[in-house]
């Protein structure tokens, strides 16, 4: 496991549920004939490889990570790696999808607990920040590395971000201005949120992400509700 990632995890106060099995709970398979079903072995190996990728990417960055780095960290052979994934990008996409799906489901569940749109937005943002703050290695994996990786990974990331754009678009009926909001309002807001989170992670402040919540809520709600209402809601608990 990457030292940085391990240290970050120790510091985390409240750990949200994990979408990826962590090394401590993913036992190494005993050598030789162990009598375990092939399907279980395959699943165990796949999770080990994904876990190894998460830690290796956290330590080296996506572009500097090689398949050899991953197989070494996972203690699996190159052949085993290629039985599960076509290449590094496919492995990264599998890890990314697990994390992104978990964040999306958590945000939707948090938003679903409220009737009013502003509270839905606040709950969704709070849930995302809480998860990312508790899991700095996964935060880097899903907020920094996809843009660095480019190609299909970056494209998948853009699709994933669209999920939050849709939550925001549901707030358009709340807008009481004389003119309709610009078409790109939601994309711009989400771009700003993602960018600020990425800056904080790059600066080594992933664990403090939850402190951004009031500012993010205020800026996000202001175009729809007006400055005063947005400020008031951003400070509500």
């Amino acid at each position: 496991m990457a030292k940085g990632a391990a240290k970050s995890r120790r510091k985390a106060k409240a750990k949200p549920p994990l979408p990826v099995e962590q090394p401590s709970s993913t036992p190494r398979l005993p050598a030789g004939r162990h009598g375990l079903p092939r399907e279980f072995i395959a699943q165990n190996q796949r999770e080990r490889i994904i876990t190894a990728l998460v830690d290796t990417v956290a330590e080296r960055g996506y572009n500097n990570t090689t398949v050899a780095n991953i197989t070494k960290a996972a203690s699996v052979s190159r052949r085993t790696f290629y039985e599960h994934f076509a290449d590094k990008e496919a492995c990264f996409l599998a890890a990314y999808e697990m994390v992104a799906d978990h964040i999306r489901d958590s945000m939707q569940a948090a938003a679903g607990a409220f009737e009013e749109w502003p509270q839905k937005v606040r709950a969704a943002l709070a849930t995302m920040l809480h998860f990312l703050a508790g899991e700095p290695a996964l935060a880097r994996l899903c907020m920094i590395e996809p843009v660095a990786a480019g190609g299909e990974v970056a494209a998948r990331h853009r699709v994933s971000i669209q999920g939050f754009v849709e939550i925001l678009k549901a707030g358009r009926p709340e807008h009481s201005g004389e003119r309709p909001l610009p078409e790109a309002t939601e994309e711009t807001l989400v771009g700003g949120i993602v960018s600020l989170i990425a800056m904080e992670i790059n600066a080594g402040r992933a664990e403090k992400l939850e402190k951004l919540l009031p500012d993010l809520v205020e800026l996000t709600l202001a175009p729809y509700l007006g400055a005063e209402a947005a400020a008031r809601l951003s400070r509500s608990s």
Binding site: A184, T188, G191
Partner: protein
Amino acid sequence: MSDDGAPAEEERFLTAYDEIAAELCDRVRRAYDVPGSWHDRIWAAGWAAMRFLQEDPARARFFVVEVHGAGSCAQAHRDRILQGFAELLDAGRAMLEDPASVSRCTAEIIAGAIHGTLLTKIQNGCVDRGEDFLPELVYMATMPYLGPRAAEDELLVQPLR
């Protein structure tokens, strides 16, 4: 290795990146530093940045898109540039009755939002139509300081061709 620990390949990238950044920042700063209201100066800075990006699409792609894949030092350099632009936006707090009612973080979010929009536009090859989306960026930049209603007036500004 560079002073900030970047490997040789990244160091070469950073040298080129910093040269472009210096020119862009100089042009934006000169546009912003003219007499006038903060609001007018933000427009001037926005135009200066947009023209810079449109002049040379390959340079724009290198500066805005490729920096993301150039390593952690490059991203730290990019973040410093964004902090510089956030300074210009944060000066908008002087427009407010209570400047403390808006945090510095707001300017950083807006700078990031603008950067994110430009990233998408350049990736999609749309930066040559920057005149069309600049009013939306200025709306976003001024909204926390002028208020959403006043900022909506920016959307009525006709593109200059």
